[in-house]
């Protein structure tokens, strides 16, 4: 429960930041940035949050089931714009995948050729 309380706390902190500072970033993303920073700065220890975080991310799918059920209210919009949605969905997904993959491969090649600072680590994966 400690972990869950911490995650909720950062979520709330993000929400407060979004509203007080009028940031156009979703509160949960601000919460994510602050929480990650807190982990790196050792303000929050990994063992406090690990189990709760694992439980939440593993069952993330459950949390947006109600949104999908909500489509029954949007069938007219979906039907009306079916072709535009299908083309944009398939097209942009393929673009993101190919661009992200090839850029990462190109830039990563240099990192894998550079001399190892921490011996043997990670290079095997590329």
């Amino acid at each position: 429960m400690t972990g869950f309380a911490i995650l909720l706390g950062f979520n709330l902190l993000g929400l407060v930041a979004e509203h007080v500072l009028h940031l156009p970033i979703p509160g949960n993303v601000i919460g994510l940035i602050l929480f990650t920073a807190a982990l790196f700065l050792r303000i929050v220890k990994l063992e406090w949050v690990e189990r709760s975080a694992e439980l939440l991310t593993r069952h993330m799918m459950l949390f947006f089931v109600p949104y999908i059920v909500g489509t029954i209210a949007f069938l007219p919009v979906l039907r009306e714009n079916g072709l535009a949605i299908a083309v944009s969905l398939a097209g942009s997904t393929l673009i993101v995948m190919l661009v992200a993959g090839s850029v990462a491969a190109r830039v990563g090649r240099k990192a894998s050729l550079a001399p190892e600072s921490e011996q043997g680590k990670a290079s095997a994966g590329l």
Binding site: L7, L8, L15, I25, P26, V29, G31, L32, I33, F35, T36, L39, L46, V49, E50, S52, A53, E54, L56, H59, M61, L62, F63, F64, P66, Y67, I68, V69, G70, T71, I72, A73, F74, V77, A84, I85, S88, L89, G91, S92, T93, L94, I95, V96, M97, L98, V99, A100, G101, S102, A104, A105, V107, G108, K110, A111, E118, K121, A122, S123
Partner: protein
């Protein structure tokens, strides 16, 4: 006490959703190719239609479930932190792949909707769909799109990416755990991550990290766009 009062109680929506989810996971355990989201959502939609329950009644409980997307998004910081050593080494590669990939995806999705004659509302709904649902829903809401539709499109994007992704990348000559992880995580968030983690744990970790980074990068990229949609 009539039936309507029971359906409109939050306990009804929560119980039905969690129950359907557990059944969907069991179905997936038997037949691996059946995505649990189809089973779960399909069963609930069928139940609502059969018993003639208004969507708004179900929503009383549904809202309690979607609430957890907030803390679940924050929790993505844990894989980011756990993979910090790998991240440090390939930071430039992962970040540039995620950023350039996200920019092309947002531009591509917007452009394609515009070319197909879609509305501005539909553009705002489609553009953030490659990132994790918890984030795309919020961005769509803030940018003037339809959050519920954004959630559905996000799921479809994830399903598409996880189904065709690995084979497509192989054909395009993109190989290695790092580039594949970046491609899948950036394009198809948690659903894609769940798919590649079965092939390779490292791919899954890079994919998880890329999905969290793509969420952050996409949120930041949308800032200059907000004004244009209001």
């Amino acid at each position: 006490m009539n039936l309507h009062e029971i359906y409109a109680h939050p306990l009804f929506g929560v119980t039905v959703t969690v129950g359907a989810y557990v059944i969907a996971l069991k179905v997936q355990g038997k037949w691996k190719s059946i995505h649990p989201l189809f089973v779960c959502s399909g069963a609930i939609i069928a139940l609502l239609l059969m018993l003639d329950i208004p969507y708004d009644d179900y929503r009383a409980g549904g809202d309690l479930i979607t609430f957890f997307l907030g803390p679940a998004t924050v929790a993505l910081g844990v894989p980011l932190y756990k993979q910090r050593h790998f991240l440090r080494r390939y930071f430039a590669a992962i970040l540039s792949g995620v950023t350039i990939g996200s920019v092309s995806g947002i531009a591509g999705a917007g452009l394609l909707v515009w070319l197909m004659g879609g509305t501005r509302e539909l553009m705002a709904t489609m553009m953030p769909k490659s990132v994790s649902s918890a984030i795309s829903v919020e961005i769509a809401r803030q940018a003037g799109g339809i959050p519920e539709l954004a959630a559905v499109l996000t799921v479809l994007t994830g399903l598409l990416g996880s189904m065709v992704g690995p084979a497509l990348l192989r054909r395009a000559g993109i190989s290695g755990d790092m580039p594949i992880g970046v491609a899948i995580g950036t394009s198809s968030h948690g659903i894609g991550t769940g798919r590649v983690i079965r092939d390779s744990e490292l791919q899954g970790s890079v994919s998880g990290v890329s999905m969290a980074l793509a969420g952050i990068v996409t949120s930041l990229l949308f800032i200059p766009l907000y004004g244009r949609f209001h």
